[in-house]
């Protein structure tokens, strides 16, 4: 049995992130102003907060988007006894350490198929020997669970898919790439209630099987009814202003952020 100290975790310490000010190229704008979080394997943390509070910036900075620069603080992945600092690593290096982000707005790459991309990534990793037939079988099983048409595999990445399909395909990629650290950026936005249920079920299934460390960013408590978070954090103006259990999400939905700020 694994001891508590050898658990995987994503550790964020005093994270300050700035981005280029679009109105003035020379000046930079600080968006995150000191964020501390630790998400251990088998934990789901929900981060909520008003628009512009820095939620998406946090996830993009964690994944290594070049437009977001870390000016202070650290991001670390602890895997077993090893701790790796991510600050200077590129997105692909972070991905290879087991980090995954589901995008709020998945990006289109015309002509490059999901099948080709996933195959290329698997071949590059080269750790697990999987024949094309085995991979195809796995892909088809997961597509079925997510109720996505098989033909999606051959189509260009996110090219011409509906908003809901794109979100499902993000979870599909997550299930195939099998990350240990998962960042879900508004996975529930743009989903109808049936699709939301399907997505939530698939996330839960993955969570049960692999117990990753998971961050869910959302505006609404409704997805949290399907996926119960262990902790809920409120991000406001680049800082976590309140943390609590799942009840916090419901309080928030009842009373809004304003009241919370006033308290």
């Amino acid at each position: 049995m694994a001891t508590k100290s050898s658990k995987n975790s994503l550790i964020i310490k005093n994270l300050h992130v700035e981005t280029e000010d679009k109105t003035n190229r020379k000046s930079k704008k600080e968006i995150l102003k000191g964020v501390d979080l630790e998400i251990k394997e088998g934990e789901i943390h929900a981060i909520m907060g008003p628009n512009g509070s820095g939620k998406s910036t946090l996830l993009n900075a964690l994944m290594g988007h070049p437009s977001y620069q870390i000016s202070e603080g650290t991001i670390q992945l602890k895997t077993g006894d090893k701790t790796k600092k991510l600050n200077d690593l590129k997105a692909d290096e972070r991905a290879n350490l087991g980090l995954f982000m589901a995008f709020q707005h998945p990006i289109e790459v015309p002509g490059l198929s999901f099948l080709h991309m996933l195959r290329t990534i698997k071949n590059l990793k080269g750790t697990e020997k999987q024949s094309l037939e085995e991979l195809l079988e796995e892909l088809q099983i997961e597509l079925k669970k997510l109720k996505i048409d098989e033909k999606a595999l051959e189509r260009g990445i996110n090219e011409g898919f509906s908003g809901g399909e794109k979100k499902k395909l993000e979870i599909f990629q997550m299930k195939i790439l099998k990350p240990n650290f998962i960042l879900l950026d508004e996975i529930d936005s743009g989903l109808d209630i049936d699709s939301l249920k399907i997505v939530a079920e698939n996330i839960k299934e993955y969570f049960k099987k692999y117990s990753p460390a998971m961050i869910i960013i959302t505006h609404y408590a409704r997805i949290l009814k399907f996926i119960e978070p262990h902790k809920v954090h409120i991000l406001s103006d680049g800082k976590i202003i309140k943390s609590g259990g799942k009840a916090l999400a419901h309080t928030l939905e009842k009373h809004g952020y304003k009241e919370l700020n006033d308290k």
Binding site: M63, G64, H65, P66, S67, K90, A91, D92, R94, A95, N96, F100, M101, F103, P106, I107, E108, V109, P110, G111, L112, H116, M117, T120, I121, L124, K125, G156, I157, Q173, L177
Partner: protein, 474 residues
């Protein structure tokens, strides 16, 4: 003494350039002893000499001389990239590498065979072709076709043999699709043409595997002027593929071909080109096909190499219900210029056509689309769809889309779309977040862009072209 040392210098310079372009794996040069080299430069005497060497009938000699006069008279093209760098006096217009065309690889002189072995041509033929030809300098040095096809009456020969062996068929069609006075370079080709393929597919004959020709320029300052004539008789089916490469030299070479294709009633012809000349070759080519009733013509044209390419494959939809398709991919890097595109002329009723053009440019490269779409008065209910996409990989690179549309018939339906893409940070970040390193992500995006064209190529060419695109985008 002097000339020897200067040759040595030239050679070492060529080697230097070769190492500069180490990515171009066909840049090697083989030492060959040519049987006959006509000195550089062009005049009527040389034109007559070429005809004499080839023991041609008088009508052809006269045709060549007439074309030469037209070439001299015609100004350079008044559109497209500058061709000022071409020095017509510094070009060999005819080099004969061996005495005659062979039909067995064993009989090809060793040093020439070595070249084609290194290019993988003979293996390719064994694996997946119905026949293949190879041109070295000015002559086809090899031509062969499966016996089963020649028994059916399929002719696949060098064009010089075509003139000798089938004079009537040859004379009936030669120069009818691309007249000598079509443009300056068709006039040049008509004056000094040498090599190329002569193909006749009999009625209702289906050639299930492609026929292929491979063109190689080996000598510095060489002009290659092959000429291909394809006659697909009623109800026949053909896929013809051509590939081309050359060594890298400090001096420029010129490749100016003419291709004429006759697609008769109910016939189907696809002509596929993978052009990978070295960066010192001017590639100025006139390609044209006539499609008769219910016939189908497809040009699949990929241009990766050359210094400057000007090439606009055309289809004249002469017959009712005929179809035409032009699918092209052009890649320009360094200072390359790919001025390519296509022309479709709707003349028959209910004719349909499609143009899909993709260009990729990088560094100071210019990959532009230049097209003409025309529907004459007789073309009732004609339909066209054109789509031109450009992918620009560096800020200095350039791509222009210059479509010309001329409609004389109100029932025509013509649609033209054009778009320009850049690889943006969000695409790169998305792919990298999935685990692809940056350079792989870039080449995957380029591959994705090119895929609609590349996936149409026969497998070996598709693999080769993908590899080229990877190298080019590094």
């Amino acid at each position: 003494m002097h000339s020897k040392s200067s040759r040595k210098e030239e050679k070492s310079q060529a080697q230097k350039i070769n190492t500069l372009f180490t990515n171009y794996k066909y840049g090697f040069h083989t030492d060959t002893k040519s049987k006959l080299v006509i000195p550089k430069g062009l005049n009527e005497k040389i034109v007559r000499q070429i005809s004499k060497i080839k023991e041609e009938p008088k009508w052809m000699t006269d045709y060549r001389v007439k074309a030469y006069k037209e070439f001299v008279k015609r100004p350079m093209p008044n559109f497209g990239p500058s061709l000022e760098g071409i020095n017509f006096d510094d070009i060999h217009y005819y080099i004969r590498p061996q005495d005659k065309t062979q039909n067995k690889w064993e009989d090809v002189p060793a040093e020439i065979k070595e070249t084609f072995d290194r290019l993988g041509i003979p293996e390719h033929e064994k694996r997946s072709l119905a026949g293949s030809g190879a041109q070295f300098e000015s002559e086809m040095i090899y031509h062969s076709i499966k016996e089963s096809l020649s028994k059916k009456g399929v002719i696949f020969d060098s064009i010089d043999q075509g003139l000798k062996k089938y004079p009537e068929l040859f004379k009936e069609y030669f120069g009818t699709i691309v007249p000598y006075d079509d443009n300056k370079f068709s006039a040049l080709n008509s004056a000094v043409w040498s090599g190329g393929s002569f193909i006749y597919i009999p009625k209702n004959t289906y050639v299930d595997l492609p026929l292929q020709a491979y063109f190689r320029i080996n000598t510095e300052s060489m002009g290659q002027f092959e000429r291909t004539l394809i006659i697909a008789d009623e109800g026949s089916f053909l896929h013809y593929i051509e590939g081309c490469t050359a060594p890298v030299y400090s001096k420029d070479s010129l490749h100016s071909a003419v291709v004429e294709i006759i697609v008769k009633k109910n016939a189907h012809v696809q002509y596929t080109t993978v052009q990978n000349w070295s960066l010192n070759v001017y590639n100025l080519v006139t390609k044209r096909a006539y499609a008769y009733e219910n016939a189908e013509m497809i040009w699949l044209d990929c241009n990766v190499g050359s210094k400057i390419t000007m090439k606009y494959p055309s289809i004249y939809l002469v017959g009712d219900n005929s179809k035409g398709e032009i699918k092209s991919l052009a890649m320009a890097k360094d200072n390359q210029c790919q001025d390519t595109g296509g022309k479709i002329i709707h003349m028959g009723k209910n004719t349909t056509s499609k143009i899909i053009a993709k260009s990729i440019c990088k560094d100071h490269g210019n990959a532009s689309y230049r097209g003409l779409l025309k529907a004459t008065k007789s073309a009732r209910n004609s339909f066209n769809y054109s789509k031109c996409d450009a992918l620009i990989l560096s800020p200095e690179a350039r791509s222009d889309t210059i479509p010309k549309i001329s409609i004389d018939d109100p029932t025509a339906s013509i649609a033209h779309e054009a778009s320009i893409f850049k690889i943006d940070d969000s695409q790169l970040f998305y792919l990298m977040s999935r685990g692809l390193p940056q350079d792989t992500a870039v080449s995957e995006i380029v591959n994705g862009f090119a895929n609609p064209i590349v996936s149409e190529l026969p497998m070996e060419y598709a693999i080769e072209l993908k590899r080229l695109l990877e190298i080019e985008t590094e």
